[in-house]
């Protein structure tokens, strides 16, 4: 670990676990078995919080879109909610529904992306290509609604920048039917597959108790049987008006083990849930405007005067996402802005779930918490004799594929 050096001085900000985030693991091995795990995040620190504390809230909102390419709308949404609480902005009811629809489409695309990555980690590349092909439909709908595939820029303080009008519903419905028709196929491919079951069952187990103690969030904690979902616990946007329940692994299998397989179960069934939520939203959507204040100059003036502190939480695809904002009424920029992304809470679980597993299981276990980072760029392995070697991502991936082939033989 000591030879790691950052080549430049970086101003500081939030960690953001974006896809292919550089992160270093150190495993202490005993033969094939992992004895100790250590990881060092922070290699992708871009100083976003630091930058935010020097910008006005509308500028920060667009910075939020860029914290993560996959859960982009959730960071913007949660920041908007925090600022709306401080400035007491009343969001029009229709905007809550637009926010909910876009957030659920994002969940669909994120979960399918993850499913593809998981298949790839197991050496099941046919399924990886299929999953990513299926994902395109949800990204197309997001583009249809917002104009962008990533960095949607649809959230605004006090509402949304675009409306979803009834004439757009047929296109949305078409996408929902597409996914509904595929659901059986996805369940069949992911959950009935013998190889996936062999590799994922009883691998990377996180017990309910440890999930709670390590403060894990989202599908990772739900897969361990810990009922926790911000959408239901502290309803935000339109979720309080809708009828749905927390997805736990017992929806599919009789017992909850908290292994990688259960994490797949939770995510697949959350896609089904998202389809249902979007349908309910389209049915119940009230009429009216989608933005509280259309004049940005006036909005910024009001925000400059606002003072107080607030935090907001949303259920991003990977789990609870939380922003804390403090404004003092003297300056445009917030006095404090803290971003807590979902993976921030889930990383501690790695140490727990990797212990006692084999090297070949590292990729799928690391990916199972959906860290926006499926394979690390490199992994340092310290053997029992203290001999240090660097395994490349490709080597590690090959080991995982070989294990699958061995099990199939």
């Amino acid at each position: 670990m000591s030879q790691k050096k950052a080549p430049y001085e970086l101003p500081i900000g939030p960690i953001h676990p974006a896809l292919k985030e550089p992160i270093n693991f150190t495993f202490t091995m005993n033969g094939e078995v992992i004895e100790e795990v250590d990881f060092a995040p922070g290699r992708a620190h871009r100083g976003i919080e630091w930058m935010g504390m020097r910008r006005n809230p509308v500028q920060i909102l667009h910075l939020c879109d860029r914290i993560c390419g996959i859960c982009g709308v959730h960071h913007a949404l949660v920041f908007a909610q925090a600022v709306e609480q401080i400035a007491e902005i009343e969001v029009p009811d229709r905007a809550y529904y637009v926010r909910t629809i876009i957030a659920e489409f994002e969940r669909i695309q994120s979960h399918i992306l993850w499913a593809g990555v998981a298949a790839h980690e197991l050496g099941f590349d046919t399924l990886f290509y299929l999953a990513w092909q299926l994902r395109e439909e949800s990204v197309d709908v997001i583009e249809y609604i917002t104009g962008n595939r990533v960095n949607y820029g649809i959230i605004m303080l006090g509402g949304t920048r675009r409306d979803i009008t009834p004439d757009m519903f047929p296109r949305l419905e078409q996408a929902l039917q597409y996914y509904e028709g595929l659901l059986e196929k996805m369940i069949n491919l992911f959950l009935h597959d013998k190889t996936i079951a062999m590799r994922c069952k009883n691998t990377g187990i996180l017990t309910k108790r440890r999930a709670l103690e390590l403060a894990t969030v989202g599908p990772t904690s739900r897969a361990s049987g810990l009922a926790m979902d911000v959408r239901i616990d502290s309803p935000y946007a339109a979720y309080g008006d809708l009828d749905f329940d927390i997805v736990l692994p017992d929806i599919y299998s009789s017992e909850t083990t908290g292994d990688v397989y259960d994490r797949i179960v939770v995510r697949i069934f959350e896609i089904k849930q998202s389809i249902d939520i979007i349908r309910q939203c389209m049915k119940q959507m009230p009429d009216g405007p989608v933005l509280a204040e259309e004049k940005y100059a006036k909005l910024l003036m009001n925000l400059k005067k606002a003072s107080g502190e607030a935090f907001a939480r949303v259920e991003a695809p990977r789990g609870e996402d939380m922003h804390y904002v403090r404004m003092n009424g003297k300056q445009e920029a917030p006095e404090m802005w803290k971003v807590k992304a979902s993976t921030y809470s889930n990383q501690m679980a790695w140490v727990e779930i990797l212990k006692g597993e084999q090297i070949a299981d590292i990729p799928i276990i690391v990916a199972s918490i959906d860290p926006c980072m499926s394979c690390t760029d490199r992994v340092a392995v310290v053997s029992h004799e203290g001999h240090t070697g660097i395994l490349t991502k490709e080597h590690l991936h090959r080991l995982s594929v070989e294990k699958t082939r061995r099990l199939q033989a």
């Binding site: 050096k5 101003p11 500081i12 620190h45 609480q85 502290s234 339109a238 309080g240």
Partner: protein
């Protein structure tokens, strides 16, 4: 039903247990959606001496989920905000609890809560990095997000002279091509003005007509 008490009852329980040592106890609600179901939060200021007792008291009510520890530089003091949730899992029953702990910059010590909530280590390590508090009893005090060669005594979230100095800020828009690099193995391409007049440059000039 998971919730055994209302936010007000939870706040009262802390006031009964700790008396005047917990201050600024506030019960807040924020509603969204057409049904306006509330998100319930109890805010309170807790001195650092009883922080672990306060967390233990919360655990005796229901084992909490630690969202994050936020921190803010307020001048002479540092505010640490422990965002915890209890009663999640029931439908719309969750109560958020925020403990604000104020520590003076001259003596920035705070006890660890990782003995009670093991997952807190991650956030506590980040606070040591970012705002320069010292978490007493932390099981792992290494840096977490800052690189190993980051200067000591500089804390990015500080607003005083211990914050990021201007010399560390890289103005990317001002950055020119580096001059201290070794010569490239392949010769640099010829400057642009040597390109023939039929180049795309001339073509783009024609597009303005």
């Amino acid at each position: 039903m998971r919730a055994t008490m209302t936010p007000q009852e939870l706040a009262d329980r802390f006031v009964t247990r700790f008396g005047s040592r917990v201050q600024n106890v506030l019960v807040k609600e924020w509603c969204e959606g057409t049904k306006k179901l509330p998100q319930k939060t109890v805010w309170m200021t807790v001195p650092r001496e009883i922080l672990t007792d306060a967390v233990a008291e919360l655990i005796s009510i229901d084992y909490p989920h630690l969202g994050v520890i936020a921190a803010s530089d307020t001048g002479d003091m540092i505010d640490l905000l422990y965002h915890l949730q209890v009663f999640f899992g029931g439908k719309h029953e969750e109560i958020n609890v925020v403990f604000t702990v104020q520590v003076p910059k001259s003596d920035p010590h705070v006890p660890t809560i990782s003995g009670l909530i093991p997952g807190a280590v991650y956030s506590e390590r980040e606070k040591q990095d970012m705002i320069g508090v010292i978490v007493d009893g932390i099981p792992d005090s290494r840096r977490i997000f800052l690189p190993d060669d980051f200067p000591s005594g500089v804390y990015p979230w500080r607003k005083d002279d211990k914050g990021i100095p201007q010399s560390m800020v890289k103005e990317l828009w001002k950055v020119d091509r580096p001059t201290d690099r070794p010569a490239p193995p392949v010769a640099e391409p010829e400057p642009a003005q040597d390109i023939e007049p039929e180049s795309p440059r001339a073509a783009s000039g024609g597009a303005t007509e």
